[in-house]
Symmetry: C2
Subunit: 468 residues, 2 copies
């Protein structure tokens, strides 16, 4: 093995991997475009003042920082030796960084998007609908399926609070997963107002975050452990007991063959109707579900205990899961109200979703759902017979390319075996032989590499066979 | 202006810019694919041991370095205070970097490509033909047209020494620039062996690099200044005098309306035929030019004084220029023999070209050569008439999208003026009105936003009008 490698946790994408990724990204892009979303790209680096404080303490630690260029220690050298020594020897190297780094690598697409919207506020047509597919970097410990460089695919609609925005993103989700043939995908939806209503109902509105975090784990650790965690967080047994109807609803739902969102809405209404917050949350869910029916969405699954960790969601939340796999969430998102506040622009409500590209690719791989012809880098290889026929080979190649058929001419008159091996490695569909006899007769011999069939014909006939 | 900005020298690409860039990258990608090239992507970061020493001292300085994560000063803290102080106070901050940075950002696509080829040598089908379109980073002082983050587009064929590889890249160049309608583009070609032969002819083989660097400036500074520079570099007047026929040839050529490559070859033969190197170089150029004629290449221009700065070229070199603009070179490349040597893999000859994306985009902008419909983010906007017709709007939107027509429904029943303003901002081609009357008659009213014409019709009729 070569001593020169890509950095750990980061990947080369060889040709077949690039094509698989492009297959996915193209389906996502087309779905966004069909709904009038516009592409956005932001720089790889952001100033640290833009990034810091947006991802929590752990997040700040995981941002890759870029060393200032030039004589980056100058500022430090101007300090006296004692102060310098203090900065250098501070625990965890925490003190030096601000002196030597001004920039960091993009940690997600949301913060740069918010920075862009704030910076261009007033010039953007609202609602501003953008999609963005770019890599992000996190200095996490690399492990199976977790990388330090990975691609995020986000779509957001900002500047409008209508539930039609949510609907649109759900339509895009369903459209993408159906095109990918991941037919067991569910779009699990809920509304943060319903979670807030639960907290209110049990008299624990001050513990909404703790409640959300605990409930988020129901799937993984089960009801009993969730109740234990809630007790630890300071809920008393009466409060926890009041959640029972919700846990029971969740249990019932997990036994259903098919989603019955109307019945879930009804049950929930009877549990939460006494709070105003509950009524609002349920009304929003009902409207969204009914619009979904009008649009023939088939995979909406309303789960009132879906929580999603991120604090900044304020309304609808969504998570995408495929039923028959252990691979976790394939995407998620929700409505937020305060995204651009931190950059000085208030009152812009937005809603966004994200595709978990690496997991989706893993699942497509597992189920062998990539299109068959994806790795055909080239339709045709023309065998090189020798210098004396080279001009004819070149002209043939040109003719085929002009007809839109990707074509290679082997670059030298190597042994037939070597040329055929190359044809196989490039997975071409056809090998063309244009020897002396063929040239004299104005024909070519075409070998179909899948059937093995061989046919001598006019070039025009061969080109014709590609016509749709 | 918001205090939060993208870092200096780096750019946000707003939607219209992304689409222009995609237009260019798509044409380049398709051209490479038609010739059987395969896509490759390498990580944003490389280990510094991979990058350092490949770009000269200046280049090493301009590599963006990434701070190690975690307690990055640990290694330094273990040293005694005096040594630490020495490292910290060293001139230009040069001593600390190796202790705190292991990785750097990609500086070009060539070195990561060489690293990939070396690492996967033995598994790659040779010739390995790859294209790669990715950003690179250089810590240069930002100025007009020079950015710290910019995209490179490279294509290389490695593992074959046939001139057919050069030909193929020239075909791709010509194809791309012709599709971009940059019809005054020339592919200026030469061969490093011809430059070596010149040095040999005047008895200055030991000064090949100096000769190359000086001649490279002929265009800009003129013959007299080049001769002065050569004298400064230690060539005597006799040696310089011997170059006269070449300068004269160059002068003659600059007066030609059209390239006359055959006559240039002939004149050059009479000047350089006495050296074996000259004969080889001329033979290669002749073969390439003749193959170009067979393939109907129209923009090849053989210039025996084209030099190109980069040291690692060993055979054919090429530079792309548009005649009627001050914008410099639009691309360039050449044959190299030792690319992977530094990574331990010997004897892989290759040839590569690069597209100067930013300059090409600038030129397309200057000449207004982007397609007209590029900024149509959406074909259709459906006006939202109110909650009572919302389901019909949604179903209409769905029907249009299923027919492949990108469609937006305005997300709320805002004032007509506001909705029409949005339609203009998104540059839609059609606005659809579906009011009470239309719904009753099963029709829609379509306003063509270019002609202003308005027409009431069946949805199916409207869809039909998109049929090719």
């Amino acid at each position: 093995m070569s001593k020169f490698q890509a950095p750990k946790g980061m990947r080369d994408f060889a040709p077949q991997e690039v094509l698989k990724r492009e297959y996915l990204f193209d389906i996502i892009t087309q779905a966004f475009k069909r709904h009038g979303f516009m592409p956005l790209e932001t720089p790889t680096m952001e100033n640290l003042e833009t990034l810091t404080g947006k991802y929590g303490e752990e997040g700040d630690r995981l941002i890759f920082k870029v060393l200032n260029s030039g004589d980056y220690l100058k500022k430090l050298r101007n300090k006296d030796e004692k102060e310098r020594e203090e900065i250098i020897t501070a625990e965890g190297s925490k003190k030096l960084t601000p002196y030597i780094c001004e920039k960091g690598l993009r940690y997600d697409l949301t913060v740069p998007f918010a920075r862009f919207v704030s910076q261009n506020h007033g010039q953007l047509a609202l609602p501003f609908k953008r999609y963005q597919i770019q890599p992000v970097w996190r200095a996490e410990r690399p492990q199976k399926g977790r990388y330090r460089e990975f691609t995020q695919c986000d779509g957001d609609i900002i500047g409008d609070s209508s539930l039609l925005c949510e609907l649109e993103l759900l339509q895009i989700y369903e459209n993408v997963f159906s095109q990918l043939k991941l037919h067991d995908t569910q779009l699990i939806i809920n509304n943060r107002k319903i979670l807030a209503a639960m907290a209110e109902m049990i008299g624990a509105s001050d513990k909404l975050t703790e409640l959300t975090i605990a409930i988020d784990k129901l799937d993984k650790i089960g009801r009993q452990k969730v109740e234990e965690e809630l007790a630890q967080k300071g809920l008393d047994s009466q409060q926890i007991e009041k959640l029972s109807p919700l846990f029971e609803l969740s249990e019932q739902m997990s036994k259903q063959e098919k989603a019955d969102n109307q019945s879930t809405l009804k049950t929930l209404e009877s549990i939460l109707a006494q709070t105003e917050m509950g009524q609002r949350g349920i009304a929003e869910m009902r409207e969204l579900i009914e619009m979904g029916q009008a649009c023939e969405l088939k995979t909406l699954y309303f789960d009132p205990l879906l929580a999603r960790g991120l604090d900044y969601y304020t309304g609808t939340i969504v998570e995408v899961k495929a039923k028959n796999t252990q691979i976790g969430s394939l995407g998620g998102g929700g409505r937020y109200d305060n995204l651009t506040d931190i950059f000085g622009v208030k009152d812009l409500s937005g809603v966004g979703v994200s595709f978990g590209a690496d997991r989706i690719l893993l699942l497509l791989e597992e189920r062998e759902l990539f299109p068959e012809n994806l790795e055909t880098y080239c339709e045709v290889l023309i065998i090189h017979f020798g210098k004396e026929s080279q001009v004819q080979h070149l002209q043939l190649a040109n003719k085929l390319r002009k007809a839109g058929i990707s074509t290679e001419l082997y670059p030298s008159a190597a042994k037939m075996k070597k040329q055929m091996k190359y044809a196989n490695q490039k997975a071409v569909n056809f090998v063309i032989l244009q020897g002396e006899e063929e040239i004299q007769n104005g024909q070519i011999t075409v070998k179909n590499m899948h059937t093995g069939e061989q046919k001598t014909q006019k070039v025009e006939e061969f080109i014709q066979s590609f016509a749709p």
